[in-house]
């Protein structure tokens, strides 16, 4: 599991670096009289990313070879089955929370920022953490109200209102 992740990470870094270097050629690397041009820094940094990415890949490969020679340095995750089950469910929670955040970000300008994110808090509490419904409702309402007071009223930050505009009185 872990070495595979490291290879993917190394590959992503190499790809990002290559992209930066290639694209930066268009902006000019060295100008007249060898002056540093806008492409210079992204070009160099892109090259560095490629090098470091490759090094991470190489180090992972070497430590793995090392590990097969010395089986004492076991790299694989030695978790019992019950642990794995728990891990699976928590990973599912992470995915769920991330999905909810994504939906909230899409909906925020439409439904209004505070309303959407209050609903998000409720959804996480009631859906992911399986708290009691009334309890989740109280917490999400009170944090929404608090944020409205501090951000909207006091600091005067114009959060997007969307369709909840009449609710807030904007």
């Amino acid at each position: 599991m872990k070495p595979r992740g490291d290879y993917v990470g190394a590959l992503i870094l190499v790809a990002i670096g290559a992209a930066f270097s290639t694209l930066s050629v268009d902006y000019g690397i060295l100008g007249e009289e060898a002056r540093i041009s806008p492409g210079f820094v992204p070009f160099i940094v892109g090259l560095l990313l490629v090098v470091f990415g490759a090094m991470i890949g190489w180090e992972t490969w070497r430590s793995r070879v090392h590990a097969t020679i010395n089986p004492t340095e076991d790299d694989t995750e030695s978790e019992s089955n019950t642990d794995k089950g728990a891990r699976y469910s928590t990973t599912k929670s992470v995915a769920l929370i991330f999905g909810l955040l994504l939906i909230a970000t899409i909906l925020a300008p439409i439904l209004g920022f505070l309303l959407t994110f209050s609903i998000l808090v409720f959804a996480i509490l009631a859906g992911v953490e399986q708290e009691r419904l009334w309890f989740s409702l109280i917490i999400s309402l009170s944090i929404g109200l608090l944020a409205w007071l501090i951000f909207y009223q006091f600091m005067g930050i114009r959060l997007p209102l969307g369709i909840s505009a009449p609710l807030i009185g904007g």
Binding site: L101, A108, S140
Partner: protein
């Protein structure tokens, strides 16, 4: 009038009941703003500027300075308790402060944060009052080549922030620098890597990245690791022990002085100061391996450097009218709104205002300490709540903060993206601090490098004519290769000793 006469009138102004009251209100409001992720001192001062318009200029500026101070400490509190730096300069505090909080030592972390801010704040204030003109002329000798060299020195600290793999640290720093090149480059006027997207013209802001990598990623990480136990501690563990103080004493002074000097340089800023201050402390610490895992000196160093840099930033601001940081730039705007022209004549034309303001910094620091030390156990008890109740609220506040930074949804999207990136970085052991460091220093590095190159008409050998820059480069080389040289040297000595 001599120095002491100024001091007397200054304290006279600052201690008037009206100014005292507004200083207190400023510190209090600042602390609240600092507690909100993403809303740092610059935004706080700008947002609350309108409410000072009816006050006298001196009172108004005292209150705004109070907000500046308060916001710094507010940001420290959230960095330590929930790994959510409210402000770029408190990122480093989270590196050791948050692990301390998870080990049940939130109390001492918060307390040492407040105390070291206060102590180094007072030291740097004395320097500011006594020697501001001297430091200002010194700062002018730091042109683009010197700042560039200083940033190279700053990059050497990547090694200290890399955790288990140095290569991964270097890669993350390079990625950070690459990120800063996205957007409209205000110098050349070139739009880079924007692909026609208007949001990318503004680049990838520092704060949404920080909120994503720290706050959101940490929440996702904790959720994955399953049951997070609430942290219950006894009251006696909440207070600072003599041993803690002994460990931090020299660190506070050293990092404080360094922070002050970096703060004096226009454009360098408190964030660079806190990174370098932390690295300095690590180099000279007896507990090197505890850094990053909850070393109390780490918190002390970062906070001391940070608050000294805040005061240092006032040196060019008050003596030359050249802002030393983002927040002092906003304060300079406030000066003009009140009809006061900041510049070299400020000390002569407005002695009451300048000295009153500087003396109010003392009082503001004292109020901050007195206000927050008793509250430390209260803040720390926040962690007694079940994590399942805390984290939805962290997410909620983080995302509002991400919106409020630039008043647009783009910040929210960036926070979300960097939240998931940060989650995978944690999972595969990629260190976050070097990435942040790369973003902090990248833009400044490129800017000063291009300026140096332009100054020399394309010729970078201009560095050779700048002794300060060369000294800084030498220092950077020493930090990087010093340990190897020392090893080689001791090997040779041992070898020759064996021969003899």
């Amino acid at each position: 009038m001599d120095f002491f006469a100024h001091l007397v009138t200054g304290f006279g102004t600052a201690l008037s009941p009206m100014n005292l009251l507004y200083c207190f209100i400023g510190v209090l409001l600042g602390t609240v703003i600092g507690l909100l992720p993403g809303l740092g001192s610059a935004t706080g001062v700008a947002l609350l500027l309108p409410l000072t318009l009816n006050l006298s200029p001196t009172t108004a500026l005292i209150m705004l300075a109070g907000i500046y101070y308060g916001a710094q400490y507010g940001a420290t509190i959230t960095s330590i308790l929930i790994a959510t730096p409210g402000d770029s300069a408190s990122v480093v505090t989270a590196i050791d402060g948050y692990p301390m909080a998870r080990q049940g030592r939130a109390g001492p972390a918060l307390a040492i944060g407040a105390v070291s801010s206060f102590v180094s704040g007072i030291i740097s204030l004395i320097l500011l009052m006594a020697l501001a003109p001297v430091f200002a002329s010194l700062a002018l000798h730091f042109g683009a080549p010197e700042i560039c060299a200083l940033i190279v020195l700053g990059f050497t600290s990547i090694v200290g922030f890399s955790g288990t793999s140095r290569t991964k640290g270097l890669a993350m720093a390079a990625l950070g620098v690459a990120i800063t090149t996205i957007g409209l480059d205000p110098q050349s006027g070139n739009a880079r890597f924007t692909f026609g997207f208007i949001n990318l013209f503004g680049g990838i802001g520092f704060l949404p990245v920080v909120i994503g990598l720290f706050a959101v990623a940490e929440v996702l990480h904790q959720v994955r690791s399953g049951k997070v136990e609430p942290i219950r501690t006894h009251f006696r563990d909440m207070i600072l022990k003599r041993e803690d103080w002994r460990r931090c004493r020299t660190t506070i002074c050293g990092s404080g002085l360094l922070g002050f000097f970096i703060g004096v340089l226009p454009g360098a800023g408190a964030t660079l100061a806190s990174f370098l201050g932390y690295d300095l402390a690590r180099h000279f610490s007896k507990h090197k391996d505890e850094f990053g895992k909850g070393a109390i000196e780490g918190v002390a160093a970062s906070e001391a450097a940070n608050s000294a840099a805040v005061n240092g930033a006032f040196v060019p601001t008050l003596t030359l009218g050249i802002p030393g940081s983002g927040t002092t730039a906003v304060l300079l705007g406030a000066f003009i709104v009140f009809g006061i022209q900041p510049g070299p004549l400020l000390f002569t034309n407005e002695p009451d205002l300048v000295w009153g303001l500087m003396c109010s910094f003392f009082i503001g620091s004292a109020i901050l300490l007195l206000l927050n030390l008793p509250l430390v156990p209260v803040f720390a008890s926040l962690l007694r709540f079940r994590y399942a109740l805390i984290y939805p609220c962290i997410l909620f506040l983080s995302f509002i903060g991400a919106y409020a930074i630039e008043n647009r949804m783009w910040g929210v999207w960036l926070t979300l993206a960097f939240g998931i990136i940060g989650y995978f970085m944690k999972r595969y052991d990629y260190p976050t601090a070097p990435l942040i460091l790369g973003i902090v220093l990248g833009g400044m590095f490129e800017k000063t490098l291009i300026q140096t190159s332009s100054m020399g008409g394309g010729d970078l050998t201009i560095f050779l004519n700048r002794p300060i820059a060369m000294v800084l480069f030498a220092l950077a080389a020493l930090i990087l290769y010093g340990p190897y040289l020392a090893k080689i040297y001791s090997k040779i000595r041992r070898a020759s000793a064996r021969k003899a």
